[in-house]
Amino acid sequence: MYSFEPSEEQQMLMDAVGKYAQNDLRAAAHDAEESRELPKKLISKGWEIGLLQASIPEAYGGFGDRSAVTGALAMEEFAFGDLAGTLAVMTPSLFATPILLAGSEEQKQEYLPKIIEGDWAPYTAALIEYAYDFDPNDLRTTAKADGGDYILSGEKAFVPFAKDAEAILVYANLDGKTQGFIVPKDAAGLSVSDEREKLMSLNALPLYRVKLDSVKVSADNRLGDASGHDFELILASLRIASASAAVGVAKASFEYSMNYAKERDVFGVKVAQKQAIAFMLAEMATEIESIRLLIWEAAWKLDAGKEDAAKDAYLAVTGAADMVMMVTDRGVQILGGHGYIREHPVEMWLRNGRGFAMLTGLAIV
């Protein structure tokens, strides 16, 4: 059957996330971006909505089952409020969700209850590398088997909350395959930059460079059992989250610029009454909706265990990155000169929008 209607439970979760995103995240976004600081209280409040908790089974301290579709729906609502805030609130998921998806029973028992049942705590993950052709399936950071241990070497970029992290899930290249390794904060050879990363946007999100100088971790810390795990499923989930966040940002820019255009007088009419603007808005709405459906289908395939789910997730995030660029660019354009001024959020969404082509790895649902 085909159906395009979220379930009642999903709708309730979307409503809860949406309310927080609009009332709290959106309200704080401008100052957070300018001051490079997200209030701790804001993060805690977002954490308490329980998006991650609802995707972890009771046996590990949560109260639900993971669904990529539910995650996609919630992520869009979240990022509609603010991208940096969303990524901050959901950072522990970068560590917990891969363990849920691919971890051994021991790893699940050891980490999930303590993350899920506690307050928001900086558990994080390191995937992105500082290279123009960064490819999650062809990492420069390496893992080498060494007796019963693994030696990790390389450098990771854009790692959220790395400075205070309890543990980091580091992805490395083991004989040509991407594999995750749980690196505790005090591991010898692990160093986190003092300075935060400076990016085109996401100023409010503390991101760090992380160096791994022959960091030794035990075989127990390899994500999964002794033979590791399938990275494809994790990557697909990262992509779906990223793509859904892109839709949220795009929708924010679309709605804001549409409302502006309905108010702005030019040449004796509202500027939205000019086809040049109205047609842009129509195309923005159409692109947002079509990419949203592409993501939903990929997420549904992931949940249903369909063979081509990973490919579809890739197509979805690729399409979403282009869509959000187009939409957020137009968002600025529709506001004219005012769009270029930081008092309006559309310029920040444009900066957010450009990131999606390279930021897979900062969110997972």
Binding site: S3, F4, E5, Q273, F279, L293, W300, K311, Y314, L315
Partner: protein, 422 residues
Amino acid sequence: MSIEFETPKPIAQIQFVLKTVAENMMRSQSRAFDENEHEIPYSYIEFMHNAMRSIGGGSLAPKEEKPAKEGDEKKEKRPPIGYQNLAAQIEMLSWGDVGFYLITPGGGLGAAAVQSAGSAEQRAKFLARFSEEKPTFAAMAMTEAGAGSDTSAIRTRAVLDEATQEWVINGEKIFVTGGDKSFKEYEQFGKGFVVVWASIDPTAGRAGMRAFVVESGTKGVTIAKLEHKLGIRASDTATIALVDARVPYDNILGSPTVEKTTTGFKGAMATFDMTRPLVAASGIGVARAAVEYVKEQLAEQGVQIRYGLPRQKMTAIERDVIEMEIQLRSAWLLVLKAVWMADNKKPNALESSMSKVKAGDVVTKITQKAVEIMGPLGYSREFLLEKWFRDAKITDIYEGTGQINRLVVARQILGYSGKELR
């Protein structure tokens, strides 16, 4: 309810069957009927007619749902999928050949107009013919030389002759898809009709517009011209001249009196909410043919598309093909949502027009890009790719141009009337 993308079994089955039809009855003759415009592929028409009759109808259109009988509770109530099924069929037939698809017997837009604007009596009277022995056609004539996108500008007039209680229609309609097969008397075909839009009160604007069933053979009506086109050449596009054409009183669809409302016009627009995603589906079938062809040809040359790479590592061809796939699929999902809404009786004017905006855009771009990728092979008439490029373009023109559908979408999202956004 929850979000789901599993193709329903009946749809998967009919797609399977129609794929065989497309390969054996359509693709094999595509080129010949493109080169010989205005010839009629009788074999396809006969085959489809017999096939549709054998499964209990004479057209592709969704069958009316029978109300559930009391005591039938054991039977699980399945949500209706008529329009979803129809969109899937049209997509597959157009994948075979969109020109052929357009001359599938069974009433097309003409029957759709009767279905949505006619009374129960009229439906019974005018629609029964499609399941009879001979393949039968119907067409819809709105467009005139001076009135295309702006349908309110039509000049065709219908005046009631009080003495004979007949409508007397004068005017000229152009670009009538299937107009020839619907109106001209062919020995091989049953008696068809053309639904002609005319004004019964030019001072009333849109409120005065009505549709009339003009039967094949009506005196005063002639096929004045058959167009020579860029593509979809297997489908006839006719000019129909009406000079004092007389049709019975009861052939008017909707009320014969003019109130200060635009219900007549709204009837036409409601039909478009149903048909726009279907036109989009048709274009998508053509584009899918092009994408599949390109991938097959590349594979034969040993070129594989590597999914999952960052753009920086892709070849230009990989970028193009992946882009085509993203656009094709996302356009199709808009269609699917629009017809799903139709099946579930949700108002879908926005989604219908969105699907048409998107499809009009992407199917032209995809087929253009496909020809470019294949180079001289793409440009050659030895292969069908260049034909699909020509065929696909119509998607952005009929059933509301891309611009008109953008207007519809914009008005919907902005909450504007036609006056506020022209």
